[in-house]
């Protein structure tokens, strides 16, 4: 009350000093205001002008640049990637933040946990992207993700001693020579004619890696003697520079294939015995009964197992078939986008957790307790009380993350490599590529920038409404 009385007397009484104070106050604002006008406000308006001109800003083109934007494949790819980011990232980061915030209320080491989760925010996105690029690396000697996947898959689907490299286009059939008495059966190799007890079977295989044999300490292939009541034989690596196509005879210097798994199959196709070759490639099925048998080199010998996922290569999830190429390209999701989103979650989950945690701390505990006393289970309290009461905070996190993701740049530039460079650009990356690589080109780059600006405007309006309301 007293303050307002003083104000009134001052305004009427000391008019000149009021003006002076007014000027000083404006002088306080002036440096920031001038700075913002010259480097933010005016350039933003100028970008709109530049988007209507050619790339050296000398000729007015009207909306031509905007037409170019919507008819250039790489820019359309950028739009698609921004859509993927916006659809996936804000949802997951909010969910992670919510889960972390709720769970940290139940542990004693919450401070340590929060510090750990928030830590990646202070790292540069460049450094984080480079770390995650190694984590997702193809090679199990570099990438932890593929190394872990390989370890797990080896329990179920271990590679054989003689893996066939399907990625290089090799098949099991390539191992069998045209003069061979064996043929490909499914993914195994099986004898073409039957054998009886006392027979001796020899099989030469082509295209076997010499390093495999060195590792397995293979010795010179030697034909075993036929034995009564048994089927014996030898498997060797048919590789002779003098007779490359000969897979029938063991030539000097050719090595046996150790540790190869064989099955004895009867005329009905049932496996009756199994064995493994010795270091010189020999094998023996003892006590073979009467009747005809086939010898099979089982498929597990040639299985390459799991060879890793090419996260940061050019591969995509393309769920739609029967569309034209452009439509298919626009609807596919590059795996590299997923890898980047995972890295980005690692960076930003802490941000979401801190905001939601603060919201949680300010919730009315009595409402939660009342729900519990009324017999609601923890999950019901969470689903029906906590989440609805938190929804304003969740919305803030969600919107902030949409704006963030619309501008996503550093991570794409640093994580994409090789063929994923063309699959993963976002609008921000395209603005940079079009505008700043090989000199400054303003036209198309400015048009994309204007579009990006329009995309963040709804968020801007939302912010304004929120603050005006307060």
């Amino acid at each position: 009350m007293s303050a307002s009385v003083i104000n009134v007397t001052r305004r009427t009484g000391a008019h000149r000093s009021w003006i002076r104070r007014h000027a000083v106050s404006l002088a306080f604002l002036a440096p920031a205001a001038i700075w913002l006008l010259f480097i933010v406000v005016w350039p933003t308006i100028d970008t709109v002008r530049l988007s209507l001109f050619n790339e050296s800003a000398t000729k007015f083109l009207g909306l031509t640049n905007y037409k170019t934007v919507f008819s250039t494949d790489t820019i359309l790819t950028a739009f698609r990637n921004n859509v993927i980011w916006v659809l996936i990232f804000p949802f997951f980061v909010t969910t992670f933040g919510l889960i972390f915030a709720v769970l940290t209320e139940r542990i004693r080491w919450a401070t340590a946990f929060k510090a750990l989760i928030v830590m990646p925010i202070v790292f540069s996105t460049t450094a984080s992207a480079l770390v995650w690029a190694t984590i997702f690396d193809n090679s199990p000697q570099i990438g932890a993700v593929n190394a872990a996947a390989l370890t797990v898959s080896d329990w179920f689907n271990a590679p054989g001693a003689y893996p066939v490299s399907t990625t290089a286009g090799q098949t099991v059939a390539d191992l069998v020579g045209s003069d061979s008495r064996f043929e490909k059966g499914g993914n195994s190799i099986i004898s073409t004619s039957s054998a009886r007890a006392g027979a001796m079977i020899d099989i030469g295989l082509r295209d076997v890696s010499p390093t495999t044999l060195t590792v397995l300490k293979a010795q010179k292939a030697v034909k075993p003697q036929p034995m009564s009541g048994a089927i014996t034989g030898v498997v060797w690596r048919a590789f002779s520079p003098t007779a490359p196509t000969n897979t029938k005879d063991i030539l000097p210097g050719e090595l046996g294939l150790p540790l190869l798994r064989l099955s004895l199959v009867n005329a009905q196709g049932a496996t009756v015995a199994s064995t493994t070759t010795t270091t010189s490639g020999q094998f023996k099925f003892a006590n073979v009964g009467s009747g005809k048998y086939f010898v099979e080199l089982v498929s597990s010998n040639f299985s390459a197992g799991f060879t890793g996922i090419s996260w940061l290569g050019g591969s995509s999830l393309t769920p739609v078939s029967g569309l034209n190429q452009t439509a298919q390209a626009l609807l596919s999701v590059p795996l590299a986008d997923m890898a980047m989103i995972i890295c980005y979650l690692w960076i930003w989950a802490g941000f979401a957790m801190v905001l939601i945690g603060a919201g949680l701390a300010s919730l009315n505990r009595e409402v939660l307790e009342a729900a519990r006393i009324d017999g609601a289970k923890e999950w019901q309290v969470f689903r029906r009380v906590t989440v609805p009461m938190l929804s304003p905070v969740l919305a803030v996190v969600f919107v902030t993350m949409i704006i963030n993701v619309l501008k996503v740049f550093d991570i794409v530039l640093n994580m994409a490599s090789g063929s994923s460079v063309n699959a993963t650009p976002t609008l921000a990356v395209e603005i940079y590529n079009d505008g700043f690589t090989g000199g400054v080109h303003s036209g198309v780059s400015s048009a994309i920038a204007v579009i990006l600006f329009l995309l963040v405007t709804p968020a801007m309006i939302l912010n304004l409404k929120r603050i005006k309301g307060v």
């Binding site: 303050a3 003083i6 007014h22 106050s25 404006l26 604002l29 920031a32 700075w35 913002l36 010259f38 480097i39 933010v40 933003t44 970008t47 530049l50 972390f100 769970l103 940290t104 139940r106 542990i107 928030v118 830590m119 925010i121 202070v122 790292f123 540069s124 996105t125 460049t126 450094a127 480079l130 770390v131 984590i135 090679s139 199990p140 000697q141 570099i142 932890a144 190394a147 905001l355 803030v396 996190v397 902030t400 619309l406 501008k407 740049f409 550093d410 640093n414 921000a428 603005i431 940079y432 400054v440 303003s442 204007v450 990006l452 600006f453 963040v456 801007m460 304004l464 929120r466 603050i467």
Partner: protein
Amino acid sequence: MANIVETTDLTPRRRGLARRLGTRGPANIVLGLIAIVWLVPTVSLLVISLRPEADFGVSGWWKALLHPLSLTFSNYHVLFAQGFVAGGLLDSLITSLEITIPATLLVTFLACFAGHSLVFGRWRGRDIVFLVVVGLMVVPVQVALIPVVQFYRELGDLFGLNPYGTIPGVVIFHVAFGLPFGIFLMRNFMSGIPKDLLEAARMEGAGEWKVFYRIVLPLALPALASLAIFQFIWVWNDLLVALVFLGGNLHTPLTVFLYDQNHELQANYWIISTGAIVSVVVPLIVFFSFQRYFVRGVLAGAVK
């Protein structure tokens, strides 16, 4: 009587304890696993930077955890021994500091002044100016890049001082894009300062400047700290602005150093990992020293 009260009291307390034990166990396990997952990238970066160059790509970094004695500081030694050669790691570290420190100080103080004017000034239209500032908070950096590059060149033509390709050029840009958030933060914090305090000082004849640095500035210190930390980390970690204004320069900040190393034909991961650790150490020190202010800044930035 007392006895009865105690026994009736015990039941809910016991039930609460049982529930807590039942729900805390799983929470500890789940968060423990999450904590490990969250640590893996940082640990891997550290271990790779401490492994001999030849080991990268031959065996995974996790193998080194079994032989901790094989770790060495040789990568750091090699890069630091180069000294301050242009384009080297130490040179980039210095360049990062040369950009970040002035950009942080300028934003902090200009935002303080502007906040003071917006809260304690008496001129009309303060609210509109504030709303414009709030609007500017989400303007993407990309929207202003090309005109500012051209503006810098025009300055060069007119006055012979072209900030393009120089550290002041980067600083000027960063200050401009740090100001909206800075003003927002300061204005919101300062509106919590009781106006009576200022009125009393004015009654005693203190000028606006004195009121600012004797009353407002000391009271606004926590917000000042939040803003400075935020601005420091944001500028330190920027890649885009530095790439546009300093790309191809002799002296580049750490982010551009890492970017360039990664885009070499034969990327040297021992340099990248060592450089990344160096680039991360500075903001980590800032973060752990001023964690409280950092979190406060995060909260102020998104929720009013």
